[in-house]
């Protein structure tokens, strides 16, 4: 029970602190889950990080795995699943509620100058930040020349052809599975 309360308060707090995206609270999460509560070891944290990065869905779902590890320690697999769900809800609901309130006031500001300026002015910034993200992503995933080649080829396919991107991603996954990348 105490573990679950810790999960709730820890992730509920981190949820509202995660300004700038979920990755900003990762160091804090690591510190508390590994060094504070000893729910996981250092290398386990690194492993669940890479699982959550690559698995489908938002990468913030690393909290599901931290919650799973915490619950697993006190109450086995079922306890782990409960911990995973609890941690996820605690991490998502507070920030999502706030985002909802912002969305609603944004909707009401349909004709405001601020909204017009944000939509026009933020667009080029966003494109630059996205390119920055892809660079950081490649570095974080430890890509070598083979991975960069796949990235280059895939980019040409995506831009020049109408092939469903899923087929290309699946193809690259298969190459990785065989150990080529």
């Amino acid at each position: 029970m105490k573990t679950y309360l810790s999960l709730l308060s820890m992730f509920g707090g981190l949820s509202l602190l995660s300004i700038g995206g979920g990755n900003t609270v990762l160091p804090d999460m690591h510190l508390r889950a590994v060094n504070g509560y000893h729910w996981l070891t250092d290398s386990q944290f690194a492993d669940i990080f890479s699982i959550s990065q690559a698995a489908p869905g938002p990468s913030i779902l690393i909290v599901s795995l931290v919650g799973y590890a915490a619950g697993l320690k006190v109450a086995g697999v079922l306890g782990g699943l409960a911990g995973g769900v609890l941690a996820t809800v605690a991490m998502i609901v507070p920030a999502a509620t706030m985002m909802y309130l912002v969305t609603m006031s944004w909707q009401r500001a349909q004709k405001s100058k601020l909204r017009h300026a944000v939509e026009k002015g933020f667009a080029p910034l966003t494109v630059g930040l996205i390119l920055a993200t892809s660079l950081v992503m490649s570095r974080a995933a430890d890509h070598d020349w083979r991975a960069y080649t796949i990235t280059a080829i895939a980019t040409v396919i995506f831009v020049r052809t109408g092939v469903n991107p899923l087929i290309v991603v699946a193809g690259a996954a298969f190459l990785g599975y065989l150990g080529f990348i």
Partner: protein, 188 residues
């Protein structure tokens, strides 16, 4: 509710949930932003390019994971509270079940070796998806010297020099707003 999205007002909650579920599942290896744009802007036409892109940066500034925030924004803009909940559940429900399954396998058997290789490969293609998004959106909104300068500044400060996001936006966002502020006479 909003005049800007007449076609979107009739979208059912189930369709919103299924769409975000589709976006989430397509994003194995990463590239969730690229998938969101591809589906929301290109395929479903629920939002315009600039509205979507600016929303993305707002979603980054706000607390919470960017993609989760974006689903709340898109769902909420179209169908209010119920729409936001539908989008959120669509985005997270199945992925949470999947990641808990992966977690179960990982903590029970201690490793996921073949999966790791496959995910590494998938992430190389996922980066390509994100680069493609840059090319596609860049063609539409990088028209002129000023937008290109903002684009380059954001990329270099955040991606190359690795300045923190909030610092980069603290400097560039006010400048971008001043540039884009509607002027009464200079309507183009």
């Amino acid at each position: 509710m909003s005049e800007a999205a007449p076609a979107a007002s009739r979208v059912s909650l189930a369709e919103i949930a299924l769409t975000f579920n589709h976006i989430a599942l397509a994003s194995f290896g990463g590239g969730l932003s690229a998938w969101s744009r591809e589906v929301v802007v290109d395929r479903k036409k629920w939002m315009g390019e600039e509205q979507f892109l600016s929303a993305m940066t707002m979603c980054r500034i706000m607390p919470g994971a960017t993609q989760v925030n974006l689903s709340v924004f898109v769902g909420g803009s179209m169908r209010g509270f119920a729409g936001a909940v539908a989008a959120l559940l669509g985005l997270c429900l199945v992925p949470v079940a999947m990641i808990l399954t992966l977690g179960f396998l990982y903590f029970t058997f201690k490793e996921v070796p073949a999966v790791k290789g496959a995910l590494h490969g998938a992430s190389a293609a996922a980066v390509a998806l994100t680069v493609t998004m840059v090319i596609k959106t860049g063609e539409k909104c990088l028209t002129g010297v000023v937008p290109v300068a903002f684009f380059l500044a954001a990329f270099i400060l955040n991606g190359v020099l690795r300045w923190p996001l909030l610092l980069v936006l603290g400097i560039l966002a006010p400048l971008a707003l001043i540039w884009a502020w509607p002027r009464e006479r200079a309507v183009t």
